[in-house]
């Protein structure tokens, strides 16, 4: 507990759970892609789906996906900005009793590749990203993350981890397709990796796709 948990952050209103958390989940998607997507669908669950317009959750999510900061005053105009930049977007309600009431599933496309991120705004602006492209995880946005799709062969993971000079905080694994021999790993790190490390990782023969997501806040 610190004074800074009580005073601040500087943010766009009106609600830390319905606005700030939504901006941050949206920004996770922006950082995953490294830029804004070509198209995006937001599936809103529970309280998000019932109250999103009165809380500006729609504008917050879009602003985040466009890469805006927590206190960017353009968030208010994000719908207009998204339209003017040619980003196709849609909001839709979805029922799911299993997940946190303030959950959004963001399905987006960039250069023909589909991405699917599930996140919950769990209060006070804190977030929990709990599924990325089919891999279950629990990411709070405060640590750098590497998402890697690799060949599902013996030794692949150790080759990847060996390249990292930084301590791994958490590791999430999932086999994606047994026939195509693909698997995915989400590697949560204590510190940001160097550019060189990321380049070397991309060059590994076992690495098929690699995304680096810097910390969100």
């Amino acid at each position: 507990m610190s004074i800074l948990d009580v005073v601040g952050p500087v943010m766009i209103g009106p609600s830390s759970s319905h606005t700030l958390g939504a901006i941050r989940i949206g920004r996770f998607v922006n950082r995953l892609l490294g830029e804004k997507p070509d198209s995006v669908v937001f599936y809103l669950c529970g309280s998000f789906s019932k109250t999103y317009k009165g809380h500006g959750t729609d504008r917050a999510l879009l602003g985040g996906v466009l890469g805006m900061a927590d206190d960017d005053e353009n968030i208010k105009k994000s719908i207009e900005i998204a339209s003017s930049t040619g980003l196709a977007f849609r909001f839709s309600a979805f029922e799911n009793e299993e997940v946190h009431p303030n959950t959004v599933r963001i399905e987006c496309q960039k250069n023909g590749i589909l991405h699917d991120v599930w996140g919950a705004s769990i209060g006070g602006g804190a977030i929990n990203i709990f599924r990325v492209n089919g891999v279950e995880c629990s990411l709070n946005g405060k640590a750098p993350v590497i998402f890697v799709v690799n060949r599902d062969v013996p030794g692949a993971l150790s080759k990847i981890l060996n390249k990292l000079e930084i301590n791994v905080a958490n590791l999430y694994l999932k086999r994606l397709n047994r026939l195509k021999l693909t698997a995915a790993a989400i590697i949560e790190l204590d510190d940001a990796p160097s550019k060189k490390t990321l380049e070397e990782l991309k060059k590994l023969d076992v690495v098929l796709e690699l995304y680096y997501i810097p910390k969100i806040f």
């Binding site: 507990m1 009580v6 766009i12 209103g13 006070g124 602006g125």
Partner: protein
């Protein structure tokens, strides 16, 4: 952190309260006091800058239920409030309406209660003409009070009702105000205690769940509570119950409040016939 600890340290070291708060943070979290002071200085500066920008303005809020209350009050001063409270209330309501219109704010302690503390500090700057350093010292003390409540209880309306949000903001504001007015540590404690006791049991009942009714006006009236509590304490009126115990009591009250009165929009003014009708209209209008 306990208020008792702060009192013991102030009496033991003879250091001013704001420095004790910063040192305590270092002992607890390893935070460098100067870095923390700089961070808080930045936040206070932003808060005062935004206050300047939004004072008495009209806003287009998300639901349209509020937006011109700060403007209305800024135009009328019948002398009932006095210059200081008038300025503080206009700031608090305007800040809260700025929040409801997706404006930039400093959550303090939360977005829903973001008006009270800027209200007091902006009035201290504008009306009392206090210098920034004095304001910052008061702001640090306010932060310490907020941290005590957050650590011992909660600052979330969904957990303990509005007493934990507006109640905390008001206790912080009253403590900061008292310190800026040269109140000693006993006076600071009394001001915070009297405020929190005055708002104990306050329920979180936002119409439709939106941070507008009754939140915006509550930010305004809470400023009055903070100023009255502070002036009482500065006059030597003591809180019979120590602050730490008031916080414990607030936490217990929060536990005994039903879920309908904790941000669910199912009770309080949120469940009145008018609220239900308004909500139906809003949903139709927003589409």
């Amino acid at each position: 952190m306990l208020f008792e600890d702060l009192k013991r340290l102030v009496n033991g070291t003879q250091l001013p309260l704001h420095e004790v708060v910063l040192s305590y943070e270092m002992l607890e979290n390893g935070e460098d006091p100067q870095t923390l002071k700089n961070d808080l200085s930045k936040l206070l500066k932003i808060m005062l800058e935004i206050s300047d920008k939004i004072y008495g303005k009209k806003f287009q809020t998300l639901t349209g239920l509020t937006g011109e209350n700060g403007f209305l009050l800024s135009k009328v001063d019948d002398g009932l409030l006095g210059e200081f409270i008038h300025c503080a209330v206009v700031t608090a309501i305007s800040m809260s309406e700025n929040n409801a219109s997706m404006g930039r704010i400093v959550a303090c302690p939360t977005a829903g209660s973001c008006g009270v503390i800027p209200g007091i500090f902006y009035a201290l700057k504008k009306i009392k003409k206090l210098d920034f350093e004095t304001l910052l010292n008061g702001f640090i003390v306010a932060g310490g009070i907020g941290e005590i409540i957050a650590a011992k209880a909660t600052i979330s309306g969904a957990v303990s009702g509005c007493q934990a949000e507006i109640g905390t903001a008001t206790a912080m504001a009253a403590a900061g105000l008292t310190y800026c007015m040269n109140g000693n540590i006993e006076m600071v404690e009394s001001a915070a205690s009297i405020s929190l006791k005055s708002l104990m049991g306050l329920v979180c009942d936002p119409v439709g769940g939106f941070v507008e009714v009754p939140c915006v006006k509550r930010n305004g009236t809470a400023v009055g509570v903070a100023v009255v509590a502070s002036q009482m304490a500065l006059a030597g009126i003591e809180s019979v119950i120590p602050f730490d115990e008031v916080v414990d009591a607030m936490k217990k009250v929060g536990k005994s409040l039903p879920e309908s009165l904790k941000e669910t929009a199912l009770g309080g003014v949120a469940s009145t016939p008018t609220a239900r009708k308004i909500l139906k209209d809003i949903i139709e209008n927003l589409g």
